[in-house]
Amino acid sequence: MTIFPDKMEKLEIKNVSKAFEGRAVLEDVSISLKQGELVSLLGVSGGGKTTLFNIIAGLLTPDEGQVFLDGREITGKPGSVSYMLQKDLLLPYRTVEDNVALPLILKGMKKEEAREQASALFADFGLAGTEKLWPAQLSGGMRQRAALLRTYLFSRDVALLDEPFSALDTLTKSAVHDWYLGVMEHIKLSTLFITHDIDEAILLSDRIYLLTGQPGKVTREIAIHAPRPRRKDFTLTEEFLDYKRQILAALGQ
């Protein structure tokens, strides 16, 4: 029997549980994502966040629960939502352009056509001029941009970003946040974002789920009402600090 979720939800995760070799990692996790929303999953490392993403991406099958995209069940089926990891995973033997175009080629598009579609977006992502370079020739920040563009080209629907910026140093990260907020203004990607960085979560998100405990459970949902477009100096406001206090209190720190 199929359960029809609320029409408003882009992505809906219902009552997902998962155990590995008898050890429960996720327990009864339900989260949702609306069209164009950016929602963060905040929690300590090893709290089951990545397992949850693998389930949403269809790489793992949950022991219990279901995943819906636009009301259609996608539990255990890869290829529906795009997925970006902390490692940029740009293939060293393909040019930046060919890396970015890879998801289109995998879908059966001709190489030339895929390249064309990819290069049309290079400027929007701040990657103009890097098309023919090898990934090794890009800086860390630029590589993440390229990885995000590849994610975006795979699906303009829903993106799962697993700590995409956590490997970057503080200054680069801050610049990438600025860039990311700018890009999001006009691409309106529905995004589920994993992070263990509280500041990053508040700055970027519309809503934050706190995923805590062993096994991981959603213990709190916090909506960030600050208007968009947000600027980096939002992190210095009293409002921002209020949110941060709330989260720290909820995490028991």
Partner: protein, 259 residues
Amino acid sequence: MKRKLRNTTRDKGPALIALGGLLALWIAASALEWVPGYLLPAPWDVAAAFATEAPLLLEHSLITLQEAFYGLVLGVGLGFLFAAAMDAWDLLYRALYPILVLTQTIPTVAIAPLLVLWFGYEMAPKIILIVIVTFFPVTVGLLDGFRAADRDAVALLRSMGASPLQVFRYIKFPSALPQFFSGLRIAAAYAVVGAVISEWLGGFGGLGVYMTRVKQAFAFDKMFAVIFLISAISLGLMALVDWAERRCMPYRNSKGEET
């Protein structure tokens, strides 16, 4: 680029000096008659033999090269199929890998006469021997390469809905290229040596056949000429592999320039 050039000179300098020293010693030994000429021919005698025998050497070289080429192509092709299958099915890997290692303990010189008995004096036994000796380094190189492929990259492609064949084509195969070329370089040298050894044991043409003939005639100058030619052919083939490697992996050259 500049740094690369300097590296090459620094790397090869000592080897070139040592090689020059050996050549000087050989010239001295011949000129001062430390060793009788019928045991160790002088460099100029070898050069002269090479010049007069050039048309004959070319003819035999072509036969040897042909055998080496067919054997190498078949060995690489077979190695590729085995490596791909063994990577895809772990059971096959566990079943065949020990046998693969076992084949390497069989001395080439020992099975070559058997192959001649079974397959005759034509090209077949020579090509089979070359396949046997080239197959192993290529298979092992590819297998290691396939297994070294980044698991996260494979997961990423799977999340994009890639088929196993697409994962192979876009991740596993390109990741295995460096190890594949290392294996191929060894295989290319083995192929020439394998061809010559199998020609020794019977055949109608090829550098190995030429070698046995001049040996029986005690023509040591010609013997030396053909030995140098075989070395040169092996080096040439290895250089060809290096060239193909650079062509197939241009991203490797650009890495150093940036950092």
